[in-house]
Symmetry: C2
């Protein structure tokens, strides 16, 4: 979505009106159903044909939001599952199934992707298709992470009514519009299945939003009532901040991927939506950016932006993201330990895995000296050691002296500039300070530490300037709607 | 004392040798005794005569270190007490006694001083004389703070042997040389009487030093054994860090004036003296300073010196100092609350009560923004309030956003410069922020906030440049001896 929404600007909708407006926009029209079904028919026919040609015995089924009829207009995303006998192994999925699937889609844009195991993503007449091999197992006897999906599809098809499907679509639009949608490592948010389960549990979009506005940490949702009367067991089994018991597997938390801050994000969105309904929670305004506006925004925030351009990290996207978050955390700790104040930080990667880590510091440069607090004078041995270490040291700017019964000294800083500290510690890729392997490999090939106005150079990386702008604003996208 | 001590430089003394060398230097020679006694005789004769002429019935006695024969060569300081009937009141001391005393010393340089009540300080043939009126009371029936003194003199005269007097002199020299001598508000250190009691308790200078090196907070010394077997009572009665029970008044702590840091100073000096005996603990080297050297020292410490020139505070010296310390504390808190990091601070006044407060900051200027931590998102009401306050505020540089379950915002600072903050808050004298009255009065007449190199202007205030230099070094004077 882009552009303003004149309707909401001129004529603010009440919550009920807003929900109806969104429902209308997200429900696919018959033409769209026809177009998507045609693609599905073709893909199923092709995949089945190719498996037969490869002499692979498999059940080919339609799964996901299209199968459950919970997809959003304009955003069809077709999941086709190839279920083979549980007597096969994971090597078979990769060595036998993938080539057959690849053959089936010959002629279309195609890329191999990887979740727990590899699968194929293709674009057939502008519709994204995922063809995922897995095992045709009995319930509970999961051999791969994808094996639950057909059971989820079956469960939801049984439970969802047309009315509920409409509610699911509204919720998904809210999650997408608010940047909370997706269980992948990058988003750490709400999956499609989770949206369906939440809707099912509360009965309607508005009832869910009302409930979520009052959720607390460690909220427990258990549609099938597996833990009824022994909720504390569920709280013991699942360590995550939000717990939604999987209806086809009571030992799995469907919300396991939801990061605490994404959960609070949804809770806040729910509260705000109830207080001040606004279409922008569902359809945020696109940023219309030039370099000038990011520089303006940098100026308003007083500078002290530091961006580490990691380069391209060569790994599947979930690995890229989990390593990138780890690297962000390591560098944040490094900066804090050296005395820098990190106001906030974030990580970002472009579709081709060009990775950036953003830091907003209180200051890129620290004062020359700092107050170093030593041991209590009462502790003779420690006092001796402290005096031995600091009294005549060249990096003692002043002191030591006694204050409130402790030794204190004024010390010269080892690192005064954040960019130099990072450049020095990453010179070897940063493995020694805990930067994970794939990010490390990329850093070894070269990196750049970008300060303030130099960030305008990010314009060459598609999407990076928008991310810089958003980072500088500091607000999650959904909070713009409350402005 | 000034100049180097060639003997200690060329030929370091062992501790025993050092103590003997000091003992020799501090013991007055017969000529000096004769000269001082002649002054005493004259003063006693003059005071007695004047009292008689004023028809005041009083007992005039010699007190203090000269009476107890514990004064240091070159530093005679004569205390003459005028004890009147306890039937008189404090008004009588001031209205009747002071004029008589003033008459007695007509022709000599004289100044009225004030402890708990007024007394006269005069210089007679280069010897400083204090003539103090008080009440001739029974032991324990104290009417003024000075009434205990004749009892202290009597007690010490009875207890001190020639050998002990020598040890007291050595100890006093150490306290003076180390900047720990004096119970006045400025020093918050060890009085002459306290030095005598400590020596008496441990029997010799070296035994005291050995014991003090192992003192802990709330050390209890009780020469007369008033609290023997019920030491915990003493600890309950006396709140101070060091407790030395007054032998003439078990409800008084002779060490009450000793500040915790002065106590730790003496403890540290004791340890250092035992480990590396050095004449400089007794006779520190004088600073030979020009403006250039303070600027050098400022450069080494990286700048960020801020000096508040309070002007002359019109009050007796102990009031000046207690208010000055209070003002220092108030301003330190003001700076810290505004985000400045105070590395250290101190107060200073010239002999004519020109007052300065020194601050060494990590930085005189703060970054434009800071990280402001808000309430947990879980708390709905507080979250609402936080968003209401910060989402659209003009001083919100970025955010709010959610981090670790809390709201955070990046805020613009109200005060970025320490000098401007102080100038603004003291514009009305600072009464509203808690600056005490006398300092406040002085500030209202005008003050100056001096930064870094501007400190060379302190050269016009006698002693201020030396103090600035010492402040920048950050070391207590006795620690120089360990360098």
């Amino acid at each position: 979505m882009s552009g303003r929404h004149p309707r909401s600007e001129r004529d603010p909708l009440d919550l009920q009106g807003l929900v109806e407006y969104v429902a209308e926009r997200v429900t696919p029209h018959p033409d769209e159903y026809r177009r998507v079904n045609a693609v599905i028919d073709e893909v199923l026919w092709r995949v089945r044909g190719a498996l037969e040609a490869h002499r692979i015995e498999a059940t080919v089924t339609l799964e996901g939001s299209v199968a459950k009829d919970t997809w959003l207009s304009g955003e069809a995303d077709v999941d086709v599952f190839v279920q083979v006998s549980p007597l096969k192994d994971k090597g078979f999925l990769e060595a036998a199934c993938l080539p057959a699937i690849r053959d089936s889609l010959k002629g279309y844009t195609m890329v191999e992707r990887y979740a727990e195991h590899p699968y194929i993503e293709a674009y057939v007449k502008d519709v994204r298709i995922n063809v995922v091999p897995c095992f045709r197992v009995e319930r509970g006897e999961w051999l791969s992470a994808a094996d639950r999906t057909p059971y989820h599809t079956g469960y939801m098809k049984e439970k969802l009514t047309p009315a509920l499907r409409r509610e699911v679509r509204i919720l998904k639009r809210l999650m997408k519009g608010s940047g909370l949608y997706g269980a992948e490592a990058k988003v750490r948010g709400f999956s499609g299945l989770l949206c369906e389960l939440l809707t099912l549990n509360y009965g309607s979009f508005l009832d869910l939003v009302k409930a979520a506005s009052r959720w607390r940490r460690r909220e427990l949702i258990d549609v099938e009532g597996y833990y009824q009367g022994r909720e504390s067991d569920a709280l013991k089994i699942f360590p995550e901040p939000l717990i939604v018991v999987d209806p086809v597997d009571p030992y799995r938390n469907t919300a396991a991927a939801v990061h605490e801050d994404t959960m609070w994000g949804f809770i806040s969105v729910s509260r705000l939506l109830l207080e001040r309904p606004n279409i922008r929670f569902f359809y945020p305004e696109a940023l219309s950016l030039e370099e000038a506006s990011i520089m303006d925004s940098l100026g308003k925030a007083g500078g002290n932006l530091l961006v580490l351009d990691v380069g391209v990290v060569d790994a599947v996207v979930d690995v890229v993201w989990s390593q990138l978050y780890k690297a962000e955390k390591v560098l944040r700790r490094l900066l804090i330990d050296a005395g820098f104040k990190v106001i906030r930080s974030t990580a970002w990667s472009s579709p081709d895995n060009r990775c950036l880590i953003f830091f907003k510091l209180e200051s890129v440069e620290l004062p020359p000296t700092y107050r170093h607090i030593g041991p209590p004078v009462e502790m003779m041995g420690d006092s001796d050691k402290f005096l031995g270490r600091h009294l005549k040291a060249v990096d003692t700017a002043a002191g030591p002296w006694i204050e409130d019964g402790r030794w204190i000294a004024e010390k010269l800083r080892r690192y005064r500039r954040a960019d130099r500290l990072i450049a020095e510690k990453l010179a070897d890729g940063g493995g020694s300070i805990g930067i994970p392997s794939k990010v490390c490999e990329s850093l070894k090939k070269g990196f750049r530490v970008i300060l303030n106005e130099e960030a305008s150079a990010l314009a060459e990386i598609p999407g990076a300037l928008e991310e810089a702008y958003r980072f500088l604003s500091g607000r999650p996208i959904w909070l713009d709607a409350a402005l």
